[in-house]
């Protein structure tokens, strides 16, 4: 899937935010037959509670777009605390261990989610019925997905020179000219490391290291480095490439046939000070309407079959051409010392 599209000159990241707001305001989605709805009693109780406190590690654009749409729909204010997933986890743990929980709802990725499961409520939102079983656990629901992919600077990498698969990174012509994340910094890179080891065997990492990647702390920083020309190409992620391309920047990319699928989850805290508002927000975030908004704003892929985020595509379409691996974070966390030792041996 090439991520450069013909509409990119007309649209921008902000336009996407505006579009998501317009979808709500115009009742575009409200007019569709609802497949599920929140319990009226929950709605009434939530209105009485008056507000909801959301802790989110999704970036400001999608977090705020969802909060704003929820406020418009139900007249209930959402206060958003936004921070990196490690910081969100630290704060929740501190508040919980002091017996002073503050948050009602949570949007967070793995592996931080695993750390917070003890503090979450089991809640089977009526909106979850439409979402595939692989995207649900008793306490959390995946609502925004993205993939690991290759991205390159279109001014430097042209036509047939562009890579198509992970093993193209081993080509000597990219020696020292490509970027990777450092797994010491981002656990998601470990998931990629596990996948390539499975696909190509242990020799892959050795050849990868010998081709001397430059290391970055986040995929966003890397997308920026690709555009600036610091590196010609890099292992980045789908929403980073889409959003950067939307600014008119010379970046394009490809999702290799085998790739890793990451995602953001919605969950409700067990000791939520406003439990009904928390449930209602969770319903909204799981619904086709809520997922459309958060995924359009963040250039990510919805898990609800009726939600639409055209730029990022749909999982049903994408899975025809790709094999997704959803990382087993429990195993990865247990395996981290070995994986990092291997990384240090070959890549550093």
């Amino acid at each position: 899937m090439k991520t450069k599209d013909p509409f990119q000159a007309l649209t921008t990241r902000r336009a996407m935010l505006q579009m998501s707001a317009a979808l709500v305001a115009g009742g575009f989605l409200a007019g569709r037959p609802a497949r599920a709805a929140s319990d009226p009693k929950v709605i009434e109780a939530a209105r009485k509670e008056g507000s909801v406190s959301l802790y989110s590690s999704a970036s400001t654009g999608p977090s705020n777009a969802t909060a704003e749409a929820f406020r418009k729909k139900y007249g209930i204010n959402v206060s958003v605390y936004r921070a990196g997933s490690a910081d969100v986890a630290t704060r929740v743990q501190a508040e919980e261990s002091a017996g002073r929980p503050q948050a009602d709802a949570l949007i967070i990725e793995e592996p931080a989610l695993s750390l917070l499961v003890p503090y979450l409520a089991g809640y089977d939102s009526p909106e979850r019925a439409a979402i595939g079983a692989v995207y649900k656990t008793p306490t959390a629901t995946l609502i925004r997905m993205y993939m690991s992919q290759l991205g390159w600077n279109t001014n430097v990498v042209k036509g047939g020179a562009a890579p198509g698969d992970w093993k193209d990174l081993l080509d000597p012509k990219w020696k020292g000219r490509f970027g990777s994340l450092d797994p010491h910094v981002t656990a998601t890179t470990l998931a990629w490391q596990v996948m390539v080891e499975k696909l190509y065997g242990p020799s892959f990492l050795q050849a990868f290291g010998a081709n001397r990647p430059k290391l970055y702390a986040s995929t966003n920083a890397m997308s920026q480095a690709i555009v600036a020309g610091e590196i010609d190409l890099g292992i980045t992620n789908s929403f980073g490439v889409i959003q950067m391309a939307d600014t008119g920047a010379p970046i394009a990319g490809v999702v290799p046939r085998n790739t890793v699928l990451f995602g953001g989850n919605i969950a409700v805290f067990a000791k939520a000070p406003r439990p009904n508002a928390a449930r209602l927000f969770c319903d909204f975030a799981c619904s086709a309407e809520g997922q459309t908004i958060i995924n359009v704003a963040g250039a990510t892929i919805p898990t609800h079959p009726d939600a639409r985020a055209p730029k990022a595509g749909s999982l049903a379409e994408l899975s025809k051409a790709h094999v997704f691996s959803q990382p087993d974070y429990k195993k990865i966390l247990a395996d981290t010392p070995r994986l990092l030792a291997e990384w240090d041996k070959h890549v550093r």
Binding site: T12, R14, S53, S59, T60, G61, N64, S79, V80, Y81, R82, A83, G84, A86, D87, A89, T90, R91, A94, E95, S97, A98, R100, Q102, P111, L115, N155, R177, D182, H184, V185, T186, A187, K214, L215, Y216, A217, S218, T219, N220, A221, M222, S223, Q224, A225, V227, A228, G229, E230, I231, G240, M244, T247, G248, A249, P250, L333, T336, D344, R348
Partner: protein, 573 residues
Amino acid sequence: MTPGDAVPMAAASSGARSTAWDQVIFSMIAALAVLMVCYPVLVVALRSISKEEIGSSLTLEWITAVFDSARSREALVNTVIYTAGASVLAMGLGVLLAFLSARTDMPGGRTIGFLALLPMLVPPFILVVGWVAIADPSAGFINILASALTGRRTTWVNINTMSGLIWMTGLFLTPYVYLLVAAGFRSSDSAMEEAARVSGAGRLRLLYTIILPLQRPALLAALLLVIIMAAGDFIIPATVGLKAKIYMLPSLIWQNHSSFPARPGLAAAQSLLLVAVGLLCIYFQRRALSRGGRYTTVGGKGSRPMLFPLGKLRYPLGVLALLFALSSSVIPLLAVGSMAFMKYWSPYALKPENLTWRNFNYMLFEYPQVWPSAQHSLFLGFTGATACVVLAIALAWYVIRMRGKFAGIVEYAMVLPLGIPGIALGVGILSLWILVPGGIYGTLWILLLAYVTAHIPVAMQFVSSALHRIHTDLEDAPRISGQAWAGTLWLIDVPLMRPALIGCWLLMYVVILREISLVILLYNPSTIVLSVGLMDVWSNGFYPELAVYSLLLLVLGVVPVAVLWKFARFSSD
């Protein structure tokens, strides 16, 4: 031995006249301040010897892990090289610029002094972005120019190296040295210099035997600050250092905090190493100050520091200093400024069709909460800077003038937060105040407390080095005429320390405005501050928006600096 012993007679006489009430009040302030900084450090210390959370079984595993892997040993060696290099560079440049602009007839000294301060007003990672735009081997302007001239890919300079890292950090720390030392140069007494000159000392000799030794408190304070700040700052190691695969202690601490599985015990043990470095520095500083005799250079006689005539070198040195000031501040800022107007950032994309106002529109008008957060930041900047300066005056008075019973403890305690990374300090403060029902958790006051805790060490160095220079004879006059300690402080010491106090206030204001990692765990949606948005934009990776945000901070920082600059400069006249 306390530094007060350096001026035994004077201190003893003023100490004897302090009333018991003075002692009680100042001791209480000192005790509260020590508690304030020690609590979070204690949390870190306990964490470093606990297997899991604090309260679990004890272990030395984290402490030994600091030294036991090749990776952390390599990081320690790198940190030593980097710290030494950056400190030498910052001290050399800062002292030289301060001397040239404060004590010579170099033309444009005032402008150069102002330019030298600019890097301080910009969040460090935007300076990094600026330097990458200038000196990246592939995407830096210098190497793009080199490649265009030679016709093939050519690298003249490479920021992704140890010398590149030292260069950036050295320049980043130069303003701290400049502010501390220039204040000293400006308020120095010319009497001793006269005496030396009359007895035939040449200019260089004068410099080495009188002027620099008299500034020893300021020089040592500056050295202490740059060493700990270079060793502890994580932005440059975590960005350019990572790219260059040069691991350092702060980047390991940051990784152990924010990666999965997080290893907060190891991060705490590594932080303690930084704390130990800070304590060691304070130890040597106290020894050096206690041996060297008296530094009281502001005496009772009216004096105006003599300006060194530079002669033929006047203009060449002026041009050189201006070039340096330009390259350390204006050029990276121009790189950042040009980013702010671009649809996306790439040095190759500097063309009219890529220019836009949209980033300004978005960041200033559409970005959620930018104005409430600006209000909170301004409030916290003003109150935080003022609180830091006032507390530092009280503590310096207790330590240097009163030589209170716990002066040594106060001095050592007031350096502790420098070694603790912002995020760990945040955890410490959070874990205390969350336990207090009602309390300040979730309010602006917890942010204020966090800022004061984190930045009191720097303020303390500024105020102490200024107070060391004031002769206690000057304080006798109001005392004899019946003024209490507050009157003496207000009538004599505060006016005499004004250049240093204003410099200190400005510095506090600016660092509070741009402080990130400390507040990320402590802010609430209703107490959001500007730097939280900065963090957001930074993690999103869109440099043009980051550039707009940085320009906003720059403007908010420059206004008070421009207003107060004149007072900081001429108050010794």
